[in-house]
């Protein structure tokens, strides 16, 4: 049995899924506008009916000049010869901003679009319902005259009044305000939204609260009155009307046979043709003729004068508080020991903008350590116009004896007197007893010296808390366990060892005569080779060969450890019997150039330079 049910459910779901794509094809749609022609101060009802298996949301296009707002929806089931059909009806309220002929473009419902609908809007007060027309049907009998309808609508419109205790106020001042909306007896209306303040000149608080409802008679006519008790605050100086808005839908009942209900029923059951099923005058008279009108209720634009706060005489501590206030201070407990936290309270009571009441409170001194104040507003009434604001500030005595908490001042603007008022409180005397080990010092660990000084103590015999600052150590790990510390210890030792080694080596080298002589000879070789190059540049042949000979002499003397002057071609032949030919040639050429005055060309000198340098390299290799 259970498995059969599961199979059936599965089949149903499958069929539903298969059928989902064909919903539009299986449904039928109709669009009606009733009445198709109406005046600019009336409205019409657009009904989109979907009969079939599936509902679909119509997409209503925008039409310039027309306002089409959703007005409701309904669902019904029709059983015709055993065939059950669901009917989904959505109604829209159509109003026009001006007269003319408008065309509502095709409405898209699912994948199907409807035919366009033509709407004729006549001038306000002409009552188009008396002459129905257009391409959508409407009933044609027993219509009210247009002028009567307009008059009825005007008479039925509610009225809004604002009751203020004064006509002039100051910027920042709060004034109680009463807003009343009058609804004539027999007129039903529906609030479409909350009462709201528009514009930027005023704030109106308390509008979100539920209005009180009373019955009043004005000039013999009974009214239902909704009343909001609020508070008006002025934001800027100048003359501005109080701009309030209350969106409503008003149902105006007129004598006649065609009723709104009848048209709804006609739309619901698809009887679009005139004279069919619901086009019954008796049925229409049963419900009466009703016009729905969407309106935004506003009060008379009577301006209110807002005065700026005077600049002259404005106290320095004025923070924007406007009203009438009293101030008082208290301390709880009234006394204590050093270090005991006490609570200092500044209380501002009165009527006005308590939210703008502010106080810096007390400040730190040698006698007191104070903390930032915290404020709290307690309203005495629903509007918040009257109440008290309390500033609680913890204070801690730092010294013993008869201490004084200084008085505080508070300034506000009194709109009744039209001047600034400064209220001051009296200083508070406090008896502070010593703690168990009390001594007066600055309450900081840093100030307390490492030895010999003591810290201030509280009633619990503890040194009182100190002014905490940010962290000074990322970790409590001992220095010696950190790697960088080990490195910082080894680095100077390594540097010292390296420096001492270098210094000692330098000193050893500089104190050896053989090394000194070797260095001097190498320097002489370098100087002579530079002189040789300079002589080549000048084309001075004797100087060239003189420098070349001296360079070779110094190099060979360093090699053979003999005086440089003793190096001559004979010694070269003796020391280098096989390899000394080239050296001998250089020495011979040097003799000729020096003593015979032979002059060579620059090219020849370059060739000799190459030969000399080559010999130098060979000697370097021998070394």
């Amino acid at each position: 049995m259970k498995s059969r049910i599961q199979v059936l459910v599965a089949l149903f779901i499958t069929l539903l899924a298969l059928g989902a794509g064909q919903v539009d094809a299986a449904n039928r749609y109709s669009v009606t506008l009733d009445p198709p022609s109406f005046s600019a101060d009336e409205s019409s009802e657009l009904t989109v009916t979907i009969s079939g298996d599936e509902d679909a949301v119509p997409i209503i296009p925008r039409v310039p000049g027309l306002v089409i707002n959703p007005d409701g929806q309904s669902t019904s089931i029709r059983n015709m010869n055993g065939a059950v059909t669901a009917i989904f009806a959505r109604t829209y309220r159509v109003t026009a901003s001006h007269e003319g002929t408008f065309t509502i473009p095709p409405i898209q419902i699912g994948s199907i679009t409807t035919a366009p609908v033509t709407v004729r809007v006549t001038a306000a007060g002409t009552g188009s319902r008396a002459n129905p027309g257009g391409d959508v049907a409407g009933s044609g009998s027993n219509r009210a005259a247009g002028a009567d309808v307009a008059a009825a609508v005007r008479a039925a419109m509610p009225i809004m009044k604002v009751i203020l205790p004064k006509t002039r106020m100051y910027v920042g001042e709060l004034v109680p305000i009463q807003i009343k909306a009058y609804f004539r007896e027999g007129i039903s209306a529906r609030l479409e939204g909350p009462l709201a303040a528009a514009g930027d000149a005023f704030t109106v608080s308390g509008l979100d609260k539920r209005p009180t409802q009373t019955e009043e008679a004005v000039a013999g006519v009974g009214y239902t009155v909704l009343t909001w008790n609020s508070v008006l605050g002025a934001l800027k100086s100048g003359e501005y009307p109080i701009d309030l808005e209350l969106p409503l839908t008003v149902n105006v009942q007129l004598p006649g046979s065609d009723s709104d209900m009848a048209s709804r029923l006609r739309a619901l059951f698809g009887t679009a043709a005139p004279g069919a099923f619901m086009d019954d005058s008796d049925f229409g008279n049963l419900f009466g003729k009703v016009i729905q009108k969407s309106v935004t209720l506003k009060p008379d634009p009577t301006p209110l004068t807002v005065l700026p706060l005077p600049v002259d005489g404005r106290p320095a501590d004025f923070s924007g508080a406007v009203g009438q206030f009293q101030v008082a201070t208290s301390l709880a407990p009234a006394g204590g020991a050093v270090g005991d936290p006490l609570t200092f309270k500044l209380t501002v009571t009165g009527k006005g903008n308590l939210s703008r009441v502010s106080s810096d409170g007390l400040h730190d001194s040698a006698e007191w350590r104070v903390y930032r104040p915290e404020s709290k507003v307690t309203a005495d009434d629903d509007t918040g116009l009257q109440g008290l604001k309390t500033f609680s500030q913890p204070v801690v005595p730092l010294q013993t004896g008869q201490l004084t908490l200084p008085g505080l001042s508070f300034s506000y603007f009194d709109p009744e007197a039209g001047r600034y008022v400064t209220r001051a409180t009296q200083p508070v005397q406090v008896t502070v007893t010593p703690g168990a080990a009390s001594n007066q010092v600055a309450p900081t660990l840093q100030a307390a010296g490492p030895r010999g000084s003591t810290a201030s103590t509280g009633a619990d015999a503890l040194a009182t808390d100190v002014a905490a600052t940010g962290g000074s150590a990322a970790t409590l790990e001992p220095l010696v366990w950190r790697r960088w510390f080990l490195g910082a210890t080894l680095v100077p030792i390594a540097l010292m060892l390296a420096a001492v080694t270098l210094i000692r080596r330098h000193q050893l080298r500089s104190s050896d005569p053989a090394l000194v002589l070797h260095a001097a000879r190498l320097a002489a070789v370098r100087i002579n080779l530079e002189s040789m190059a300079a002589a080549l540049h000048r084309g001075d042949t004797p100087a060239f060969f003189s420098a070349a000979r001296h360079a070779l002499q110094e190099r060979l003397a360093d090699l053979w450890q003999v005086p440089a002057e003793s190096v001559d071609p004979q010694l070269v032949a003796q020391q280098l019997p096989e390899q000394g030919g080239e050296l001998q040639a250089i020495f011979a050429m040097a003799e000729k150039a020096t003593y015979a005055g032979e002059s060579l060309s620059a090219k020849a000198l370059q060739e000799w330079q190459r030969r000399v340098l080559e010999q130098m390299d060979r000697l370097e290799a021998i070394t």
Binding site: P341, A468, G470, W481, M496, A499
Partner: protein, 241 residues
Amino acid sequence: MKACLALLLFLAAAVALCDQGLIATAEHATATGDYRLAAQTYEQVLTQQGYSAPVLFNLGNAWLRLGKPGRAILEYERALVLMPDNPAIESNLAAAQQRAGITPPAVGPWLATARYFGFDTYAWAALAAIWVLCAALVLLCLRGSARRFARPLILVAALTLCVSADAAVLCWPDLYRAVILSPATLHLAPAQSAAASGSLREGDVVWIQGRYAGFNLVRTADGHSGWVSNDAAVPVRVFRR
């Protein structure tokens, strides 16, 4: 590059402002008697910005006022690491020990003198002495007037190094100090099922000798040794063996 620097500066300023806000909150909580909030907030400050003697001191005060002398002793001991020999901290530490019913162990004159500065101070002094000593040895190798400065420098540096090393040796056991946060049992072996060899009171100071399997091998002030769970004995400094 400049943008990165600006971002870093902004972040640093933001962190500093945030910490100042936390500290103000903690101070306000202390002033209004909400010591639990104060303790929580001071711990947040320590987590976010590192250790600071004033914050540790205030945190210790908050714990002590909450009736947790063990936690208070731990925070005071830590504050003394950063600010050794501070009378306010020592005074409150003594008050906490008194509330815990603990008599602090007697300290000899040499150790008391050595504790005048913290262990890290001696480490810094020794490091500076090593640098100066090395520089002076290099100067000694040079000829001329440099050698004249070398000898007194070596003398001063060597003396500083010796004193610092001696003091550091004396203070060395302090690196292994731990505070018992709640009454605990000393076990003969590192296991809860092991036989008890003694008991520890909240606020007792012990010296950690080693660690094994969630237990600390500790030595008490009166020379007893035993194993106690890691949770019960919290090191004053970071423990490393």
